[in-house]
Amino acid sequence: MSYLNYSVAQTPTGLRKILYLNWPLVFLIAAVASIGFLMLVSVAGGRVETWAEPQMYRFAAGMVIMIALAFVPMWFWRGISIPAYVCCFLLLVAVELVGTIGMGAQRWIDIGPIRLQPSELMKISLVLLLAAYYDWLPQRRVSHPLWVLIPVVLILAPTGLVLIQPDLGTSIMLVAGGGIVMFAAGVSLWYFAVVIAAGVGLVATVLESRGTDWQLLKDYQFRRIDTFLDPTADPLGAGYNIIQSQIALGSGGWSGRGFMQGTQSRLNFLPEKHTDFIFTVLAEEFGFVGAMSLLGLYTLIIGFCLYSALSNRDRFAALITVGISGTFFLYFSINMATVMGMLPAKGSPLPLVSYGGTSLMILMLGFGLVQAAHVHRPR
C-alpha cells in the first residue's frame, strides 16, 4: 500500500472529515472553557457582560478556527512549516525594532483591531518546524551532534529575541516546547541531561550576576525570584500577590466557599483575578473538588492528545500533537504551580480559562493542528 494509496483511499475527505474529529477533545475543551466563563462571571461580581460575554464570542470564534484548521491536510502544514517559522522570526525582529523605538518592552504589533504577539505564534511555528525536521531526518541521525545542533539553533534563535524583549516566561516556554518535540523525536537522553546540568549552571550564573555590571536579568525579575523564595519577607510589596493567592486557595477547603462567595476574590485581596489568578478564584469558591475537577479535565485533554499522537503513524502529525499538547501542559501546570507558590510569579494565563484573546486564539490554533493531525492520521 503506497503512501498515496492510503492517503486517498482511507483518509476522510470533504465535509465527512467533521465526523473524524477528535470529538472527546472538542467536548473537553468546551468544558474547560465553560468553567472559565463561570469564573469570569464570578470575578465580575455576577455580571456576564464584563468579561464572560466577550470571552464567549472569542471562544466561539476559536472553535470555528479550530474546526476549520482541522480540515487542512497534513501536507499543507508540512509545507508551510518553514515559511511560517521565517515569518514569525522576522516579526520578532520587527517587534524588537519597534520596541526599541517605542516603549521598553513592547511585545506586540497592532494590526487594526488584532494585537499580534509574534512570540505566541512562534510557539506554534517552532513546534511545526521541529516536527517537520524530525519527520524529514532519518531516525539514525537524530542523536548525531550535528543534527542535534540544527534544532537547538532553531530553538535558541527566536528564544534569544524573546529574551531581549525581555520576556523570560515565553523564552522558557519556547525552549521547553522545542525540547518536548526533540524528546519525543528520540534525541538521546544524554543531551537532555547535559542541558539540564547546563541550565542549573546558567541559573547559578544568573543569580551570581546580580548587582554586577553584567547583570543578566532586570531588577524586577530578580525581585520575583526573591519573592518566590520567601514571599513573607515583603508581605505588602512583591510577596503580596502570592501570599494572598495562597490564602485564597487554602481557605477554599474541601468544597469551597460557594459561587461568588470567596472573600479573597470578592474583596479584591486577590490581584489579576480575571487573568493570572483565576485558578485561585476557582479553588477558593469551589474548593478542592472544583480545583481537582479542572486539573482532571486538563489531564484528560493531555491524555486524549497523547493517545492520538501515540496511535498516529504519521511521525510529523504525532510530533505536532505531542509538541502542542506539551506546550498546553506547560501553560496550565506553570500557572497552577505559580498561584500555589511553587514557582516564581511570572504572569502567565491559565489556558482556556483566563480572560484574554491572544492566548485563547493561539491555543485554538494549536488545537486546530492537533485535530488536523487526528483527522488526517494514516489508517
Binding site: M1, S2, Y3, N5, D135, P138, Q139, I180, F183, A184, A185, G186, Q244, Q246, I247, A248, L249, G250, S251, G252, G253, W254, T263, Q264, L267, N268, F269, A283, G287, F288, A291, M292, L295, Y298, T299, I302, G303, L306, A309, L310, R313, D314, R315, F316, A318, L319, V322, G326, F329, S333, M336, A337, M340, M342, P378
Partner: protein
C-alpha cells in the same frame, strides 16, 4: 507497494516509547500539583481560612451613648442630641469632588474659604477616607441632602449622638463639658479604653463630666464588618449595640440654679445653696458664665479669647475654685472658738471705742465712732470688729483655726468638680511652714475678722453656715442617684461644739437680720415661718493706706472696680427649723449687706418657696423693685420633667 521510511514501525515505536515517557513525566507533574492542592485545601484549610477571615473581617467599635445627667427633679441638664453631618468619599465621587461640592453648596452654605480648605484636604487624604463636609446640620438641611443623594455621588448623610447642655451657661461650671480626646488626655490615662480612639468619641474634660466619666461613659458596642483590600467597608456581618452610660441624678435644682444665675446677672459672683440636713448642693453657680456647648462643638478662637480676656473671669469656677477673705462672715468662727475655750461667755462684754491697739499698731473698727459696749449677740448683729480684736487676743489663733476646721473651712470638700480649693484656716504652724515667720498678734486680730491669711471658698462658707444651723457635721454632696439607685444620705455626726454656744451664734445671726439695728435688716424675710438668719461680710482686697485714710478716699465707689471690696453674705432659713443654707460672694461688689445680702435672700426665698419668691416675703418697700427684677428675668420654666432616656 512498500512502506516509505517515514511510516516504518520502528519509528512509530520510538515515538511511542518517548510519548509514554512524556506521559509519565506529565502525570508526575499533575500528581505533584494535586498533592499540593490537597495539602493546602484539605490539610491546612483551617489555617488559611483563619488568614482569609483576618484579612476581610474587622471589628469596629460603636461609640456608646453617654449617660444623661438629671437635676434633682429629673430635668435633663446634660443630654445627647442627634448630630447630623455629611461626609464625602472621593473614590465614590468618581475621583472628582469639586462638581459634587458645588452641587452641595446649593443645599447648604459652604463658603469659598471652606471650599478651598476642603479641596485641599481631599487632595491630601486617601481616596477612600470619608471627610466631614459639614457638621451640626439642621434636620431640613440634612433631609434635603438625603433626598438629593442620587445627584451627590459619594456624599453620605450620617447621624450620631453629641453632648448637649440644654441649660447652657447656668450649669457650665459644675457640669463642665466634654470634648474630643486629645493626645494629652491619652497620655494621662493608663491602658485607655479603645473606644477613646474613635474620632467621634467625647470625653469628659472638666467638672462633673470629667469626674463622673467612669459612670457616664457606658460600654462600647461592636460591629463586625467585612472590608475589602483597600480597607473599605463592604457590609456589616453583625452588630452588637453598646450600653449607654449610667443616668446620674445630681442634687442640683436646675430652676433654682437658673434663678441664682439670673439674680447675680453680670456681676462677678458666686452663690451656693445647700440643704442643711442632707448636704445636698441645690445650687452652685458662678457668674458670669459661658456656653459649654461651644466647647463641645469646638470653640472659635475669637470666642475663646473673649472669655479669656474678660475681667470677670467667666471660665473660673468661683464657687469652689475661688477663695476669698471671708471678712465678717468669719466672726461666728472666732466667737464659737472663744465660747468653747471658755475665755468669754455669752454675757461677756467688750468696749468698742472704734479701734484697739495691739503689738504697737492701731486696729480700726469698721465704724469710726465705735459701738460702745458690745456682747456676743450684738457683736454679730452690729459686726463689731473691736470685740473680735479683743477676743482674738484672749483665745489665740490656734483655737480659732481649730474651730474653723470644725466648721468646714480650710479643707477640701470632696465634690465631683474640678479644682476644688482647700482655702486657708491659718495657725502658728501654718505660718511657720508657709512663710517661715512667727505668728504675730496682729495676724490674730486680722484673722479674727476674716481678713489677713484667712481664705475660704463660697462652698466652704455654705458648709460653715449649714453646720452652725444644724449643729451637725454636714458634708456637701452633688450626686443624688446613679442609674436610679439613690445614694444614701450619710448620718452626719453631731458637731463637736457645745449646742448652747451654737445657739448664741444663731441668735446673733438672727439679730443681724431681724433686730432693729441689724446690719442686714433691709434684706430680712418678713414671713415669720421663713425667718432668716445671716451674716454680712465685706472683705478688703488690699489695705487702705494711711494716706488714703487721711484724704478720706475710702468709699468703694471712688475706687477702680478691681480694687473694691468683696461683698459676702451667708444665711440660712427658716430660723427655727433650718432647711437651706446660702452663701453669696460678689467680687468687688462693695458692702456685704448692701450687695450680697439681697441676692442671697432672694435665692434663699426661691429655695423656700420652691419657685419665684412671693413678694410679700420681703419688706414692703422692696416689693416693686423685686417684681421689676423678676419681670426682667428670662426664667427657665420646664415642662413636665423628662425622665426618658434619649
Amino acid at each position: 507497494m512498500t512502506d516509505t521510511p517515514r511510516q516504518n514501525d520502528g519509528n512509530g515505536r520510538r515515538i511511542g516509547r518517548r510519548g509514554l515517557m512524556l506521559a509519565g513525566i506529565q502525570l508526575g507533574v499533575v500528581t505533584t500539583l494535586a498533592l499540593k492542592l490537597r495539602s493546602m485545601q484539605v490539610e491546612h484549610a483551617e489555617q488559611y481560612r483563619m488568614l482569609a477571615d483576618g484579612n476581610s473581617i474587622k471589628i469596629r467599635l460603636l461609640v456608646p451613648a453617654r449617660g444623661l445627667i438629671h437635676d434633682r427633679n429629673g430635668i435633663v441638664i446634660a443630654g445627647n442630641e442627634q448630630n447630623y453631618r455629611v461626609t464625602l468619599t472621593r473614590e465614590e465621587a468618581g475621583g472628582e469632588v469639586e462638581p459634587v461640592l458645588r452641587r452641595l453648596a446649593r443645599l447648604i452654605p459652604i463658603s469659598d474659604a471652606r471650599m478651598a480648605e476642603l479641596l485641599d484636604e481631599f487632595a491630601r487624604r486617601s481616596a477612600i477616607t470619608p471627610i466631614v463636609l459639614a457638621d451640626r446640620l439642621s434636620w431640613e438641611q440634612f433631609s434635603s441632602i438625603a433626598v438629593n443623594a442620587p445627584a451627590l455621588a459619594g456624599v453620605t448623610p450620617e447621624s450620631g449622638l453629641s453632648r448637649v447642655y440644654p441649660r447652657a451657661g447656668d450649669l457650665a461650671h459644675v457640669l463642665g463639658y466634654v470634648g474630643p480626646v486629645s493626645d494629652y488626655d491619652l497620655s494621662k490615662i493608663e491602658d485607655p479604653d479603645p473606644v477613646l480612639m474613635l474620632p467621634e468619641f467625647q470625653l469628659g474634660k472638666v467638672g462633673f463630666e470629667a469626674r463622673m466619666e467612669d459612670h457616664l461613659r457606658g460600654k462600647a458596642g461592636q460591629r463586625r464588618v467585612e472590608v475589602n483590600s483597600a480597607g473599605r467597608e463592604m457590609r456589616q456581618l453583625s452588630r452588637q449595640e453598646g450600653e449607654q452610660g449610667a443616668t446620674v441624678q445630681m442634687t442640683i435644682d436646675a430652676r433654682l440654679q437658673n434663678y441664682a444665675a439670673q439674680r447675680m446677672g453680670e456681676e462677678s459672683a458666686a452663690a451656693v445653696v445647700m440643704d442643711v440636713q442632707t448636704g445636698d448642693i441645690l445650687t452652685i453657680c458662678s457668674s458670669p458664665s459661658f456656653d459649654p456647648n461651644k466647647f463641645v462643638r469646638g470653640i472659635s478662637s475669637p470666642d475663646y479669647k473673649a472669655l479669656m480676656n474678660h475681667d470677670h473671669r467667666p471660665l473660673a469656677d468661683k464657687t469652689v475654685q475661688g477663695v476669698y477673705p471671708p471678712g465678717s462672715t468669719f466672726k461666728m468662727v472666732t466667737l464659737l472658738a472663744g465660747l468653747e475655750a471658755g475665755v468669754i461667755n455669752a454675757g461677756s462684754r467688750f468696749y468698742c471705742p472704734g479701734y484697739t491697739t495691739a503689738g504697737g499698731r492701731r486696729f480700726h473698727c469698721w465704724r469710726k465712732g465705735g459701738h460702745g459696749t458690745v456682747d456676743a449677740v450684738t457683736s454679730l448683729s452690729h459686726s463689731c470688729d473691736v470685740y473680735y480684736y479683743e477676743l482674738a487676743q484672749k483665745v489665740g489663733i490656734d483655737r480659732i483655726a481649730a474651730m474653723a476646721r470644725k466648721l468646714g473651712l480650710g479643707q477640701r470638700h470632696d465634690l465631683p468638680m474640678s479644682a476644688v480649693a482647700e482655702g486657708i484656716a491659718p495657725d502658728r504652724a501654718w505660718k511657720q511652714a508657709r512663710h517661715g515667720q512667727a505668728w504675730q498678734v496682729g495676724d490674730s486680730l486680722n484673722a479674727s475678722i476674716g481678713q489677713g491669711y484667712v481664705l475660704a471658698s463660697p462652698l466652704q462658707l455654705a458648709v460653715m453656715t449649714a453646720r452652725i444651723a444644724s449643729g451637725r457635721e454636714i458634708r456637701p454632696r452633688l450626686v443624688r442617684a446613679i442609674d436610679g439607685v439613690q445614694q444614701p444620705v450619710p448620718d452626719f455626726p453631731v458637731l463637736d461644739v457645745n449646742p448652747a454656744f451654737l445657739r448664741v451664734a444663731r441668735l446673733g445671726m438672727d439679730e443681724v437680720m431681724n433686730s432693729a439695728t441689724g446690719t442686714a435688716r433691709r434684706s430680712r424675710i418678713v414671713r415669720e415661718d421663713w425667718r432668716m438668719a445671716g451674716k454680712t461680710g465685706t472683705s478688703q482686697v488690699r489695705n487702705i493706706t494711711a494716706a488714703e485714710r487721711a484724704r478720706g478716699v475710702v468709699s468703694n465707689d471712688q475706687l477702680p472696680w478691681e480694687r473694691r471690696d468683696h461683698a459676702l453674705f451667708v444665711c440660712y432659713a427658716p430660723y427655727d427649723a433650718p432647711r437651706y443654707a446660702v452663701s453669696v460672694v460678689v467680687e468687688h461688689g462693695g458692702g456685704g449687706s448692701a450687695v450680697a445680702a439681697p441676692v442671697a435672700r432672694d435665692i434663699l426665698l426661691f429655695a423656700l418657696a420652691g419657685g419665684l419668691p412671693p413678694l410679700d416675703a420681703v419688706p414692703g418697700d422692696q416689693r416693686d423693685a423685686m417684681e421689676e427684677r423678676h419681670n426682667a428675668m428670662h426664667l427657665f420654666t420646664p415642662e413636665a420633667p423628662r425622665l426618658t432616656r434619649a
